[in-house]
Symmetry: D2
């Protein structure tokens, strides 16, 4: 199968369950909302080593938000419910409450259950906090130095999908890089998903285990390293491919992740020098979801 001359491999992405939350951070200005959203979702590429997987889902114009101010929707995810509860509390409390003029609203549809994050944060008000209602939501207003921080009382969480992915194989490293950027920008317009890695792009791939060092659980996937393709006999990189980047997607459900993969792949295929689109899996034994590339189109 080809799109715009780029081969779409007959392969599937193996994705996993993860617990997701989805919040709207509004502020006095678009720029301030972005600042808070960025701080709260940093250090959040993968739960392998980060305390959460987190990212910005998208922008909401003033006319669309509960308080009529500009905002960014973010997602914070973790496989363990207790850890997610903790991360939500700290990332909101340390990175959004402390940011100028912010408010935080729950934006998750069909939650499995809820965290009492706002209810807990309100105690910071030391008795000066107040409860109010905005657009049918229970909101705590907590006086802070620069004004009142508004936070919804509860935030839903649900079983979502982590690790949706595709690989961009290109004729040069920079063609792959530009295509990855283009794919991430395209995915930004799909609701309910984030690309949690830096700038949405993944530059490194892992394999389970390590041949040379027994103490490591994971190590570089040498078969996918462009600089090793001459050296590693079992390389999976074509001779004409010199740039390989992966896009990883977390979403509120499988459908959102599929839409994101579709939008990202189609956009990547418009970039000069892209040769092949592939997907990553572990033989299908580990993850709950198998998303076939060719069935996306």
């Amino acid at each position: 199968m080809e799109i715009n001359g780029v081969e779409i491999k007959n392969n599937y992405a193996e994705a996993f369950g993860i617990k997701v939350t989805r919040l709207l951070v509004t502020a006095a200005t678009k720029k301030l909302a972005k600042i808070a959203a960025t701080e709260a979702t940093g250090y959040g590429t993968s739960v392998i080593g980060c305390p959460a997987e987190a990212g910005i889902d998208g922008y909401m114009a003033p006319s669309e938000t509960p308080d009529g101010r500009p905002g960014y929707v973010i997602m914070i995810c973790n496989s363990a419910k207790k850890k997610l509860d903790h991360e939500l509390l700290e990332r909101i409390g340390m990175c959004i409450l402390t940011a100028p003029t912010t408010a935080v609203f729950d934006m998750l549809e069909d939650p499995d259950d809820k965290f009492k994050t706002g209810f807990k944060l309100k105690f910071f008000g030391d008795g000066y906090e107040k409860k109010q209602e905005i657009a049918g939501r229970t909101i705590h207003s907590v006086p802070i130095m620069s004004g009142d921080f508004l936070v919804e009382s509860e935030f839903g969480w649900k079983e979502g999908v982590a690790g949706g992915n595709f690989f961009i194989m290109a004729n040069s490293k920079m063609s792959g890089l530009v295509a990855a950027e283009v794919a991430v920008d395209a995915i930004a317009n799909v609701k309910g998903v984030i690309t949690p890695f830096p700038g949405g792009m993944v530059a490194s791939g892992s394999k389970v285990g390590c041949n040379s060092y027994e103490f490591l659980n994971a190590s570089t996937n040498e078969k996918m390293c462009v600089t090793l393709k001459e050296e590693v006999v079992e390389t999976e990189i074509r001779e004409d491919v010199n740039g390989v980047f992966e896009i990883v997607i977390d979403g509120v459900d499988e459908e959102s992740v599929k839409q994101a993969m579709k939008a990202g792949i189609e956009a990547a295929c418009t970039v000069d020098g892209v040769i092949e689109i592939d997907a990553g899996n572990f033989g299908g034994s580990l993850g709950a979801y198998k998303i076939q590339l060719q069935e996306l189109f």
Copy 2:
């Protein structure tokens, strides 16, 4: 004392010891270096609730860096050495190694000691890693999917200074906000410091303990809340002040923090509507450093 008509209070900032690291992240482009630097320093406003205090110190042009590529200097800080070691490893391993085309160099002068962060990360290469020298530095080259990740073998740490600060009091909330932005931008040109809060600005202040809820160790400082100044008798906010923001600074040493405070205050005092500059302290009993505002000028 007055600067540009703004009163500089006769008060001091109380600052604390913290262990700091200072790294240079380079990449193929300035934008990619910024992406990695931002991800690696997110979720890092205060060690009260974040796993580190972290931020971007500044940009280095290609002509100034060891590998001739554009880069950003970042600082990652923690009061506990073991935690700092962990954070350095994870923030580099998860947020910089995974980002496209990056390399990481140690940029701390006069370290107290060193972490073997690069030495540990090299094992990810599963035997394909190589040791090389760049500009007199020992560098590990680790093959990853998109190329080779370069990381210096060791990263210095030293006792630095956290919590340098000043308060901007303004005639309106937005005057205070704009002045805070201006101060942060000015501080960006001072070497060896970060402003770890979101966008460099702090919108909330805390007091030790909580009057209404015994289970809380810290709560909002009601005396500094603009929306409570009518209600709280002991308010420390002047009647004509309606906007209060704090700038918090971490630095490699006291001198750097002082320079940052000076640059930030002078810039804030150019903004229309700023009335007063104050500083935060806890009576001087907790912190190792007392930085007098008026002595900065």
Copy 3:
């Protein structure tokens, strides 16, 4: 009438006819499309002194554009048809054709007539140019150094509306400034309009004629200058107002301009310190359109 505590004055904006074009600039990446769009719309605040009024209307995701690449819609306007023809040719030829990887498509609905801009630009190809069809459009493909520049053969123009406006009056200069920024960001989500002044905000107002210097046709409107409100007896600025900014809107039709004014005013009214919204007119004798503020809501 009040919105969120802000008084909406019983006044109207007087707007004028202007000839408008509306183009889509796509490129390999979102960033490159923005670069070309920005260059092509610079030096375009007002036809009083600039060769055109120009600005960015909005972003189009890859899935929405004729060539599947990211793009920005821009508008270029002039009251004189011949000048507009010239400006279109030069701004596309000098600022978009010369920018990496771009293509330009006509995005104006219901044109009054068309300019043969693409047809003229194709001759730059010196015989190597080719004609093709993309999404039902006639496109010229012109070989340039870095690849092929694509440009639609004809671009529509129509009688649109210039000078839609409103004034933000605030308690401090910075409150007014932040509110202006917020209004412009909100208007960015309305299709078919631009805010041609720098950053969308207007810091200066004019009156017809000049009292002190006969040789000038226009001069500062002293009745609307905040720094002159004590000095000028006929000042139109309330005593509690210290910040005044105007937003000026050009659009493809009156309805678009009205929607933009509504979105901008509603967003401005969420900003702390905004006191009053007014509109600018010349007694109604000069412009073809009178847009009543209070009828927008």
Copy 4:
């Protein structure tokens, strides 16, 4: 000659005389200064079709500027003195005076002569303008709606250099594109120069005259078009080159242009896939300056 494995051709850039001005635009915030600087330098790639060549030279921190506020230095250039006088007046009057909170200072060293731009603009104040001195400069303070616009009375101009240039030849279009971006970012740190094309990059090259259409004075340089290299027998593009971009530099003098070329080329040579650096000339008969590539290093 090779830099980092990239061949530096034995060739020279042919540059021309042009009249240059160099201004500092300050504002309340760094962002506002950037907005005004960007608007004032737009539509300014080449005097062949634009009313000026213009661009941003660099950022100046608050501690470095005459009024202690953040600012951007811009350059506006034209070969004709009278046109330059006009452009300076209109670009300052329409794009900077109208932008919030701005001030404009002369930043040209060793001028040949001066334009009375500020002196002329002051009349807009209709008698309310005032003359003052800031850092030894004669400044006019003109009351506008949102405050006072400050402008230096006179602005120097001098004979500078236009059309300094180099070509980046790369293995893929995207490698060339990324290298061009990197070069432009590196040049941004050299004082006294601008890269006037969109984003600093030139995607199209011209030859004098036109073979197919007699009425054209200039047309695409088919020998340098990557998509024509199979078709055009006299192509100057190597078989392994698939991406060609040019960087064009204007500067206050030849030395600045040389430094910019050096910084840009060195940075471009760090980018994966760059094969060759060349320069553009017209046989040396047209321009006053011949800058040898290999002599830069």
